[in-house]
Point group: C2
Amino acid sequence: MKQDYCYKHPRPSVTTDCVIFGYDQLQLKVLLIERGIEPYKGKWALPGGFVREDETTEQAAARELSEETGLKNIFFEQLYTFSNVDRDPRGRVITVTYFALVNIENFKPVAGDDAKNARWFPVKEIPKLAFDHEMIFRKALYRLKSKIKWQPVGVELLQDKFTLGELQSVYEAILEIKLDKRNFRKKILKTEVLIQLDEKQKNVAHKAAYLYKFDKKKYEQLENDGFYFEI
Amino acid sequence: MKQDYCYKHPRPSVTTDCVIFGYDQLQLKVLLIERGIEPYKGKWALPGGFVREDETTEQAAARELSEETGLKNIFFEQLYTFSNVDRDPRGRVITVTYFALVNIENFKPVAGDDAKNARWFPVKEIPKLAFDHEMIFRKALYRLKSKIKWQPVGVELLQDKFTLGELQSVYEAILEIKLDKRNFRKKILKTEVLIQLDEKQKNVAHKAAYLYKFDKKKYEQLENDGFYFEI
DNA sequence: AATGTTTAGTGTAAAAAAGACACTTAGAAA
DNA sequence: TTTCTAAGTGTCTTTTTTACACTAAACATT
């Protein structure tokens, strides 16, 4: 039923690119793909692809994410739409970008993928990127830094169970500052209402409980920015 | 040089829609256009239009804004990109939306426009809107409410000179709460560093000074979200 | 088994920020 | 001139933020 397009207007290609953040060995990392074809063959780039006719940009991004990481139920949200007329040498391409937070431990390099080279780079050691992906990356990093200050997205980078110390390290890696342990715990336990498990593991917080507690806030956020998706 | 498009992919139409906020008579208002053609003929809609081949979506939005309001140097920023496959009955249309803050007093209904009916509606009395514009509008309103809490965008709705009382009214209209006069002044004068003019007009704050003072913050913001544009 | 090393866990005091609250003065309108 | 509306101002209380140091347990090393 998605019949004849009846507008007489230029029709740009529309793609999505994803800035996928992970956290590993006390470093914030980002997933990059080595391009196998021109233009920018051999350069590193953000994973992305064309939006199909029967899917939203969110669905396209979700598809990309699962293709690249094999992960499902990932936190992601729309970042920005880039539309400079010369951002792709092949012609007019408008790109809707997303940023995602994943748990690297769950990540298994997708075998049998189209032989693309995928690697996690520490955000401090990003190589030269194809297209305008550097700008996209910087915007994503800025967004993440801003967001973590008032929304409990840090946990998305960790496994279901994590210690408060680990969570603090995530904050420290993203914000690039040292935090006071006691103040961090005080604040996180008050404003973010993490739930701690049994007495034996008092320091282990639980992500599911955490998300549950944040239902309302999450809901607002989901409506307005972010999405969880289940493939 | 924007030669042959060489992708073999569906090419959606790309449009921009703008949620233009104004402030008048103690009310937050939004500019709507009555549609002159099908679909949704006669319904109210957000101003918007197609993105041309040689312009970015920002430029398209800026063009729309100036066409609709005749204003230049308007504050606006990208809001969200909507891409539901059935959001336009005519076919696949992806819309990059923007929200803008203007000073209604400077607004002159653009004469000789293509006979479109344009009107400011109080945000509390929005009629049924065409397409998915209600969703867009709600998202813009939510963004504005969030944004005003930590970025000094309130002044954008006022003229160059304004009283602190007027600024407070803007905050009250947007946040839908009553604020204490003394606490508001204390806070605004500390964190937002408004500059007051001569002794005679002690209560009149000045927007230019205000913007100047906020250079750094503005700059960051401009880089990451918003734009001022000069037609 | 003993030792050293790392991480978990805890409280208090000081400083800063936010919130509650009422009257006087000046200018505009009647 | 009187009345009405908006401007202007300070203090006290509560809440939030920040700075700061030691003990206990788990783990790794020898």
